[in-house]
């Protein structure tokens, strides 16, 4: 596989949600080892952007590609998404949760990226919830659940991390730990796109501030040529 530099390139993205144009003509590029920090007011479209990169919200127009990634995979299939929801099944034990994700998620190791190699137990230890491995996930507190879902990112190699307000509802200690993990991911040659309201102290930051172009985002469908 080509070992050229990994680069996530977005060219004038336009996103509609619920029949409303969230933003249009947004372009940016993130290189290997960089973190793109997306900021902006409530409802400006940070989460929408991340979900679009994750392939969960369809693009109204624009292109999205991962240069240097595996050619036959979508960008979304080479990315981890860490959003508001934990994707943790309370009925399964912590370890069962992790094992499932490890064997279910298809790994992806393009050239120049090394990481996501740790075993489930190691990952839990790293995040300081190793002692809960055998417990049903139902017994975890909000914060612990969040860490469990974070450990998903450590056990399957994928170069792109998409993180939506990763530090929300985390106390100071856990927040520092998380930042550490993100930095190691960058060192391993991964790249990160994250939305946040607080400022994050990462190594190589490239920041993107979303602003409402005009008072109120234009509804997609009053634009001349679209119904909805």
């Amino acid at each position: 596989m080509r070992s050229s530099l990994l680069k996530l390139v977005a060219e004038n993205l336009t996103i509609d949600r619920g029949g409303r144009r969230v933003f249009q003509g947004l372009s940016f590029a993130v290189e290997q080892g960089e973190a793109l920090v997306v900021t902006g007011a409530n409802g400006i479209g940070k989460s929408s952007l991340l979900r679009t990169l994750a392939g969960l919200v369809p693009l109204a127009s624009g292109t999205l590609r991962l240069d240097g990634g595996l050619p036959d995979l979508l960008p979304a299939e080479q990315a981890h998404y860490f959003g508001h929801q934990d994707a943790v099944k309370p009925a399964l034990s912590v370890l069962e949760n992790l094992h499932f994700w490890q064997s279910f998620t298809a790994p992806c190791e393009p050239g120049g990226f090394s990481g996501g190699k740790s075993t489930p137990l190691e990952a839990l230890e790293t995040l300081g919830i190793g002692h809960t491995a055998q417990l049903p996930a139902a017994y975890l507190s909000a914060g612990q659940k969040r860490r469990l879902s974070l450990s998903r990112l450590l056990i399957t190699p994928r170069p792109v991390w998409l993180m939506d307000e990763p530090t929300s509802a985390l106390d100071k200690a856990s927040e520092q730990q998380l930042l550490g993990l993100m930095n190691t991911h960058l060192e391993n040659g991964g790249l990160i796109v994250t939305a946040t309201h607080t400022e994050l102290t990462l190594d190589r930051i490239r920041s993107l501030h979303l602003k409402a172009a005009d008072p109120g985002s234009i509804p997609a469908d009053t634009a001349e040529d679209a119904v909805s």
């Binding site: 979900r51 392939g55 299939e77 994707a87 298809a106």
Partner: protein
Amino acid sequence: MSGWAMALFKRDLRLSVRIGGSALVGVLFFLAVVTVIPFGVGPDLNLLARIGPAILWIGALLATLLGLDRLFQADREDGTLDLMMMSGRPLELVVLVKCLAHWIATGLPLVVAAPLLAVFLNLDPVSMAAVTATLFVGTPALTLIGAIGASLTVSLRRGGLLLAVLVIPLAIPVLIFGVSAADAAIHDPVPFLTPFLILCALTLIAAVIGPVASAAALRFSSD
């Protein structure tokens, strides 16, 4: 089954076994419906025996469809579905595997319970066997067709009833051939095998249409 499919299969089975026995609920509903009907129709044994297969099939139909609303919703609510779409596995297969696990956890118990309930409706052994056989072949089709409804209503918070309404018309052929195969075994206007084979064919068709359609619906509903 390849590794990931197996993992998914095991997980879904575990979940449906551990979470408050959702398998049990289906069977109980089946039981409830089948026992309620005599209260309505009245205790005429001949009549019951005559419409017995129908009662069992209708009970199974309702129990299956109404039990399907959580098939994708549970995964959607906690964000699992999003990750599944990003997982790089063909969504059609994911749906198929989930349906399989769901059928084994909730459909199979219905089939097993059928002979017992048949006793209440005083069916003779032959028709008892016939009904059970048809249910065994037919209920997978119900699950697979129902999966379409499940993925159509996945984003709505009130699955059950709407799902049933959407899917029942599509499930009518299965019901018809299931019941008539069972009847055919008892008093044969037609040989048992004809409707039975058609039933099998329907199940096979459903195994194709169901996953494809519901995968499409899931993709569209993702947001």
